[in-house]
Symmetry: D2
Subunit: 406 residues, 4 copies
C-alpha cells in the first residue's frame, strides 16, 4: 500500500471539487455540523474521502465504511485516517469483514447516514432498531439504493425521513448519465487496451446510466445495440439512432456488453453460450447480479486472470469470454469511479441534504423525496459560477406571461 499515493489522490480531488469547496467556504465560519455524528457507507476512494474531510471541517464527527466489497482503495482509506475520520473499510471479497466494518460504523450511533446502495441504513433499521432513536435521517446516493428504500417503505419499515439524492436533478441528470458514461469506458479501455471504435457494443438498459454509456460508446465510434423491457425507452433508443433487440439476439452480435439496469439476470447461461469468441463483459449497475457470474462459474471449463481486472472464462464450446472486475461496477473496480467534477455535484447535494436533515428533521415526514428543488437549483447556480458562466434571468413581463392564460 502506497500511503503517499493516497494522500496525493485526496489532495488532487480538492482542485476540481469546486462546488463543494464553494459550500465549504460559505459555511466554514459557522461550522454547522458541530456535534453531529455522520456515518457514511460509500465506495471509498479519493472523492468520497474528500467529502468526509469536508464534513469534518464543518464540525461533524465522521465514521466511514465501504459500500461494495471491491471498491475501497486501501491507500486512500489509510490516508483518510490522518484527517481524523473514523475509517473502517477494506478491499475484500470476505462478506464477514464487509458487514463487521458496517457494524463498527453503526456503533457510532449516527445522527445522519450518507448511504450508497442502502446497505448501511437498512442494516441499522433491521439489526439495531435501538439506534433509530438517534437517527434523524438518511441521504441515499444511488438508483439501486432508492429502489431498495422504497421497497422498505412499502413494507412499512422505513422510520426516518429519506432524501433521495439520486432522484434530484443535479444528481441523476449528471452523475448517472455523464459520470457513468465516461467512467465505464475508462474502466473498460484501460483494462483491455482494445478499440471501442467500430465495435458492436450492447448496452443492457436505457435508463439514465444506460443512455450515458450508449452515448459515449457512440462518441467513441461504436455501433450500439440497446436491450430494454420498457417500450417507451425502447422507442427513445431507436430515435437516438440505436438498434434495439432482445438480449437473445444481441448476444450473438455484440463484441462488448455493458449492463446498467438495476435488475438481475440481464445476461445468463444460454446467452453466454451464443456469444462470439473473445467478447468483453462488464457491469455498471450497483450489484454484481446483472451479468450472471454464477452461470459463468457453473458452465466454465477453465478460468484465469489474463490482465489485472480481466478474467477469462473458457466455455464448454471452446470459446472464451472476458469478465471485467468480477462483474462488479467496472468504473470503480477497474478505474477510479466517476470523474471528480461529477461527484462534486452529487456531493454538494449530499452536503446540502445532510444539512437540510439536520435543520429540519423534526418537521419532516417519513417519506422518500428528492432534495428540495430550490437546493437543487442552488447547486446548479453555484456550478455555473465556478466555471464563469452567466445566464439570463426572467423579466417581470416574462414572469407574468408565463402565469397568464390570455
Amino acid at each position: 500500500m502506497n500511503l503517499e499515493l493516497g494522500r496525493k489522490k485526496i489532495k488532487w480531488v480538492e482542485k476540481y471539487m469546486k462546488v463543494v469547496n464553494y459550500l465549504r467556504d460559505m459555511y466554514i465560519n459557522e461550522k454547522p455540523f458541530n456535534g453531529v455524528k455522520v456515518a457514511m457507507s460509500i465506495h471509498l476512494e479519493a472523492k468520497t474521502a474528500y467529502l468526509a474531510t469536508i464534513l469534518k471541517q464543518l464540525g461533524a464527527d465522521v465514521a466511514i465504511t465501504g459500500s461494495n466489497p471491491l471498491t475501497t482503495q486501501p491507500e486512500v482509506a489509510e490516508a483518510l485516517k490522518e484527517y481524523g475520520i473514523h475509517v473502517y473499510a477494506e478491499k475484500t471479497l470476505d462478506e464477514d469483514i464487509y458487514w463487521k466494518n458496517m457494524d463498527k460504523v453503526l456503533e457510532f450511533n449516527p445522527n445522519i447516514i450518507i448511504d450508497d446502495g442502502a446497505d448501511l441504513g437498512i442494516r441499522l433499521i433491521e439489526k439495531f432498531p435501538e439506534k433509530i432513536e438517534n437517527l434523524w435521517g438518511i441521504c441515499e446516493e444511488t438508483t439501486t439504493g432508492v429502489k431498495r428504500y422504497k421497497a422498505l417503505y412499502n413494507d412499512g419499515k422505513l422510520s426516518v425521513p429519506l432524501i433521495a439524492i439520486n432522484d434530484s436533478y443535479m444528481k441523476y441528470l449528471f452523475d448517472n448519465r455523464y459520470g457513468t458514461g465516461q467512467s465505464t469506458w475508462d474502466g473498460i479501455i484501460r483494462s483491455t487496451n482494445i478499440t471501442v471504435t467500430g465495435k458492436n457494443v450492447v448496452v443492457g438498459g436505457y435508463g439514465w446510466c444506460g443512455r450515458g454509456i450508449a452515448m459515449r460508446a457512440k462518441g467513441l465510434g461504436a455501433n450500439v445495440i440497446i436491450t430494454e423491457i420498457d417500450p417507451i425507452k425502447a422507442n427513445e433508443a431507436i430515435m437516438d439512432g440505436f438498434r434495439v433487440m432482445k438480449m437473445n439476439e444481441a448476444c450473438k452480435i455484440g463484441d462488448i456488453f455493458v449492463t446498467a439496469t438495476g435488475d438481475i439476470d440481464i445476461i445468463t447461461e444460454k446467452q453466454f453460450l451464443n456469444m462470439k469468441d473473445g467478447v468483453i463483459l462488464a457491469n455498471s449497475g450497483h450489484f454484481d447480479v446483472e451479468v450472471k457470474v454464477a452461470d459463468l462459474e457453473k458452465i466454465k471449463v477453465e478460468k484465469k486472470e489474463v490482465r489485472p481486472g480481466v478474467e477469462e472464462y473458457v466455455l464448454p464450446n471452446g470459446k472464451s469470454v472476458f469478465l471485467l472486475g468480477k462483474g462488479r461496477l467496472v468504473n470503480l473496480t477497474n478505474a477510479d469511479g466517476h470523474p471528480i467534477e461529477i461527484m462534486d455535484l452529487s456531493f454538494a447535494l449530499q452536503l446540502e441534504g445532510a444539512k437540510y436533515i439536520m435543520e429540519n428533521y423534526k418537521n419532516m415526514d417519513i417519506s422518500i423525496k428528492p432534495i428540495p428543488y430550490d437546493i437543487d437549483k442552488k447547486v446548479a447556480s453555484i456550478k455555473l459560477k465556478t466555471i464563469g458562466i452567466e445566464i439570463d434571468t426572467l423579466s417581470e413581463d416574462q414572469k407574468n406571461y408565463l402565469n397568464s392564460w390570455k
Copy 2:
C-alpha cells in the same frame, strides 16, 4: 389552390401513420365515437387532416379549424371537406376571420375538444359558458396550451377534465424533441438554401424542443450556443458540449437564431442592433412573441420579402436581419410541420385520449393530467410492433428482485 395536391397529401400521410392505422383497425368495427361531436383546433395540414378523417371513420362528427393564423394549408382544408368533415379554416393574418372560424366550430356544441395552443377550449369556456354543459373534456397537444390551461385552472376557471397530451411520454419525448428538431431545420434550410454546417447557431431555451433543435444543429455540423434561464438546464447544455451564455452576448456571435421557450421577449431591440449583418431569425415556439417582431417593426428602416417566407429587415445601423415566417412556428409556416411518424405518435395519444374522456368523463376529476401511463405504454408497444422490433420482458425473478429491499 391545388385541390389534387391536397388530396395527395392526405393520402400520403396514411402510408406512414402506422400507429393510428393500427388503432383504427382495432376499433373500426365497433365505431366507438358514434354520435360523439369532436371539435378540433389544430394546424390544418395533411397530418392533422388525416386524424380528423380517422375520428370520422370511427363514428365521430368532426368540426375543425386552425390553431394559428398562417399554418392552415388551403388545399388540404379543401380536400378534407370531401371526407364529410366540417372545415372552417383559412390561411390569413386577419384575426377576425381566425376567431369567426373558431366560433363556427363551437356552434357545433362539441363533446370533446382536441386543442393545440388552448385557443378553442378557452374560447368556449370564456365566451360560451352555456356550452360547457355538453363538453366532456379536452385534450391539449402543446407545451404552451398546457401552460395556459394550468393558469386557467389556477384561476379556478377550468370546468372540465383535461388530458395534457403534451405531458405524456410518447408526446414530449418524441414530438417536442425529434419532431421539432427535424422540422425546424427543414423550414430554415428550405427557405434559405444556406449552410447550417460551420455556422454559429443560437438556440433560445433548452427544454425538450430546444434540445431537439440543438441536437440536430450539431448533427448538421453547426457550433451551437444555448441561452437559458434555468441553471439546471444550463448545466445540461454545457455537459452536452454546447456553449451557454446570455442572449446579450450570443446575439453578437450567432449566424442563425431559433427560439423555443414558450415565453416572450427572447430576442429584442438592443440585441437585434448588436447582431452581425445577414443573420437568420426563426421561432419554433407556439406564439410569435419570442423573436420580438414588434421591435423589428419599430426600428426597421426598410422591410421586404426576399424569398418566399423570408423578410429582410434593414436596421438603422445599415445591417440586415432576415425573419422567417413572420416569427411564427417556422416548421409550419416554412415547411410541412412535424414529420408524419412523429405526429403518428401524438395523434395515437389524441385518439386514445378522446376515447378515454368519452368512456370515463363522468368519473374524472376536474384536473390536468397526462394520459394514463398504461395507455402511454400501449402506444409505445404498438409503435414497436409496426416497425418489427421485439424487446425483452421481465421474468418473475426479475420482478421480485425489483420489489425487494434485501
Copy 3:
C-alpha cells in the same frame, strides 16, 4: 413561371457568396475577362446563375446551358437573361432539346468551358473539332465529369488543358461532403415529410459524397448502413460506427436508400423486390443510373405521382417503393442544390480556374490537374477572412524544424 421569384433568388445568393464577392471586388477594376468567351454547362439555378453574372461583371461574354435535364429552374433562367447572359436552358426530359441547347452554347465559340459532368466539353471535342482551336481550356466541377475526362484522356482524345476543380481541396472536401450531405437530406425531407430519425438509412458508396450523406443521416438520428466495393473505405465506414454489408442484405433492412457512387446498377431488380413496403429511393450521384430506374419501369405493376417529386412504383409483390426526382440528383430535383456558402467555395475555384487558364493556357500541358495548391489555399484564406477567423502562422523556427531531420 415567376420571373420576380427568379430575380429574388439570384439577389439572395449575393448575400451569402462572400468569397466570390471578395474576388469580384479584387478584380472589378481590371476586368480581367474582357473579350473572353466563357461557356457554362451547369445545373442552372440561382447560385450558378450568380457565378455567370460575376464572370460577366468581370468582362466575360457568357453563354450558359443546363447540365442535367431536370435541374434547370425556369424562373432563374429567365431572370438571368436580364443580366445580358446568353441563356439556352430548359427544364425538360426531352433529350433533343437538351442537346440543341448545348449546341447553341457551342456556336458561341468559347475560349473557356466551365463544365459540370463533362457533357459540354466532350460535345465540343467530339462533334465540333473545328472549335478546339479557339478553346484554351476547361474547368470541370464534378467527380463524374473528371472521371469521364480521364477516360477521354486515356483514349488520347483530350486536346486542351483541364483543371479538375473537383479534385481541389476546397471543392471535394467541402462541396462533396458538407454540401451533398445537407442538400440531399433537404431534398428527401421536404419531398416526403417523413422522419429520418430512427430510420435505417442505406447509403450506397462511402466516397466524399457518401460520407457526407451518412454523417448527416447520423446527425439526424438515423441508423446508417453503408455499401462499398473498396475494402479500405469499408473499414473506414465501420470505424465511423456504421454497419457495412452487401446491397443484397441492406435492401431488406433499409427504410431510405441514397446512392452516391458515380457508377451504374447500385440498386437493381432483385433488390427492389426484396425491399420492405414503402421505402424511399433517392440518388445523389451525377447521373440517373445508380438506382436502376429501367428495372423499376420494367417490373412495375403501377406507377403514379403521390407528392410533387415522389413517384410510387407498385411492384408485382404488392409492395410499393417511392422514387424521388426520377432517380436524378435529389438535391437538385427536389430542393435547391447545394447551400450557397458551399457553392461559394466551388465557384471561387471556378473563377480562379478560368482566370488561371486565361493567363497560362499557352504554357499549360494537355493534362488533368487540380487547381494549383497556392490558389486552393488562397480561396481557403479568403473564406476565413469573410467569417472573421484568424489562424496561427509558422515562425521561422517552426519552419526550420519541419525541414530538418536532426
Copy 4:
C-alpha cells in the same frame, strides 16, 4: 518489475491481433524471413513485442530497442526475451542509455529496419555508414519519422529504399485518427479522473491525429477548439462544428490542451501565463517539443508530482498548470498506447512491408513511398474477413462504365 504481467500482456495481444495472425498463418510454413536480420526501434510495449515474436516465428532474427525514452514497459521487455528476441530497451530519461541501446541493435547488422520516429535508421546512416551495405530497406511507422526521412532524402543522404508505412491508407486513416483519438483520451482520463464532458478542449493541429483527438473529445461531450496554420484544414475544422482561433486566444479559454502537430513551440511561455488555473497539458505528437516544457521549467516557481504521470507547475502568477507524462506522447506514457486492433492494421503493413523489401529490394528505387496499393487493399480485405464483413464487388458492366467517357 512484474514479469508475469509482461507475459500476460503479450498473450493478451494475440487474442485481438487477428490480421497479423491471419498473415502469420498464411506464411508460417514457408518461414519467409529465414536468415533475415530485422532491427526494430519502437515503443516497446505488448503490441510491438508481439510483432517481434511474429517476425521471429516467421524465421527472422530480431533485435529490438525503444523509440522514446519513457515508453518502454520494463515487464514487457523482460518477458520478450523469453521468445528469443534480442532486447535492448530501458525506461529511462538518460539519453546516453537510450543511444547505447540503439547502437547495440545496430551492431547486429540488420537487413531490414522497422523504425518509429527515424532514430534507428538515421543513426545507422549517420554513424555507421559501413553498415549500409547490409541494409536492404527501412519501414517507417510515423508522420514524424517520414518527415525526417524526407528531409534526409532532400539532403541526398538517404541510401536505401524506404516504405512510408505511415503514408499508407490502412495506417494513417486508422492509426492516426481512431488510434490516437481513443488512446489520447485514455491517457488523460486515467491519469486525472476529471471530466472531459463539458470542458473546453483545445487541440493543436487538425491533421489526422488532431482530428481523431477532436472527434473523440466531441464524442465525450467536450466543446472543442482547434488551432491550425493551414487555412484549408482550418475551414474543415469549422465545418466539422469546431471553433478555430489562434493559440493566443485559445490559451485563455481552454481547460484541457492536447497538441498533435509534429512541430515545435505550439504552446509557449506567454500562453502558459495566460491560462486559467488548473488546466491540463498533454501532447500526442511524436516528440516532447510541442508543449514547450523548457519554457515551463524556466518560469516555474514550484514543481511537483501530484498523481502518477501528472506534474504540477506553479507559475509566477500563482496559477498552476498540470503537465502529463512530461510532455511526451500521453497515450504511451500515461496509458498503453494505441488499441490492439489498430496496431494490428499498422503491424500487418509492417510485416508486409518488411516482406516486400526482402523480396524486391534489388529492384527498388532509393525513394520514399507508401506501401504498394494492392498490399494496402489486401490488409483491408483481411481485416474485413476477420470480423465477418462481406462487401460488394464490381460487375463487368460497372467496371466498363467507370472506364468510359460516353
